[in-house]
Amino acid sequence: MKLFKKKNYIPIGRNIPRSNTAEKSAKPEMGVDEPIIPDGMWVKCRHCGGLVYKKEMDEFEICPKCGGHFRISAKNRIKITCDEGTFEEFDADMVSKNPIGYPDYDKLIQKMQQKTEIKEAVVTGMCKINGYKTVIAVMDSNFMMASMGSVVGEKITRAIERATQMDLPIIIFTASGGARMQEGIISLMQMAKTSAAVRKHSDKGLLYVSVMTDPTTGGVSASFANLGDIILAEPKAIIGFAGRRVIEGTINEKLPDDFQSAEFQLKHGFVDKIVNRKDIKEALSVILKFHSKKEAAFNGQGF
């Protein structure tokens, strides 16, 4: 849908990564960021500009210098969010076809799969969070900036539908540069498909918590990401519909630095709470607890 301003973290030692050629050719195609934390390397924090040795960072991948949140893989997100050993993955092997015959789309996907060790840009499944059972979906911005095509749309939709069938809440960690342009109009259709699934889940009285992470933009921001009963966001995450450069070009004006940040969205009323990554599991379990009782306080027949 639109591209995101190139982020500022520059991995050092670019000659080392295992899939060097894949990254080189993927970069101009996609205009997406470099992998965030290549194995055993220094990374530059996009928040403070400081160089951080990866091993200095704990499992939360937060900058020890400024507290800025690095983009985290779906796998690591699941590790810090789900109770140990409780995550059961759905649809792990689903892969995209090439709906418009975009040149070398299959090769691009394969390169991304090698780079990220996941098949597509979202990982879905069922887990427990501090004992509370829930369906969970985690988008991974390392995979083609988690753009939404057929597979992302289908896996998210199935996860929501399973939650609906099983009377479970759903938690979605959103991250996306927007629609998967290489799939043409079918990628746009995923917006209507996922939103309709949220509607059914909601109509059954079930809880949906959206956790917006960096970046949540374009078609994902204009569909399920913004439909949570409760919307959390990570500090400084970029959240918005149109790309900053597109807006600047349209209005012929430089936008302030905090434009489309999580803090900006909180101020304008589109986010319920900004939660530090270290506290997200606890926040989710508190929310799940509030919604876990089968008997509501008000049953429609008087208290």
């Binding site: 639109k2 418009i100 057929s150 043409g184 109009i185 309709a196 149109a242 004006e253 434009f259």
Partner: protein, 265 residues
Amino acid sequence: MGRAFDILSKSRMVSRPSSLEFIEAIFDDFFELHGDRHFEDDLAMVGGIASINEIPVTVIGIQKGHSVKENVSRRFGSPNPEGYRKVIRLMEQAEKFKRPVIEFINTSGAYPGKGAEQRGQGEAIAKCLYVSAGLKTPVISIFIGEGGSGGAIAMAAGDRVWMLENGMYAVLSPEGFASILWRDPSRSSEAAELMKITAEDLIKNGVIEKIIPEPEEGIENNPEYTFNILKDELIKEINILRNKPIDQLLSERYARFRKFGEFEE
């Protein structure tokens, strides 16, 4: 210049009739309603009550202007969040009074502005999709010109989606596609062909159900030709849809969008 690019150019012609002309010509007694009841009235989005064949309906449309002045006030047909919230308001009103909803789409996309972001463009479009999905009254959408991105699908999430012969619908503009993916805006004609944006392409993959023909001499020269055909089709379709049990209508609407996706497992 390829066929798709030729259609793209036609879909954008300033002389092409926009929503208000369709509404005035096809419906009787159009009574325009303004405002989203939250912030302001978005002139890029028009809507109100009208009747067709004596059946009251809610009509909504994205309005491009025909002059520079009109285009400035209507933001060249790129709605702000208030436009989408007007759609939501009018859809819910239609549901309350059991009126079918007819939506006309003609936009290059939702407006990428500072205020639009401050007031939740993403949320407004998402909510449009959410409300459409469960709306207990029939919804028919017609692409009459340009149909770009999230700002278009927000109004095309109902029971039927039709397109004029020279309309188009795409995830982003072919110019944007070429410059983002190929770093070469001059390849936009090639992008237009590849992206499958024309009515003929879109009927094949089920994105639209019907193509409304345009006259050989050009719709700008003989709009009545298309207005008449569309009016007849709408009367027929409204009668079919409003006689369906609401549960069936909603489950068919869900299935309509549920099917999109090309993957293997």
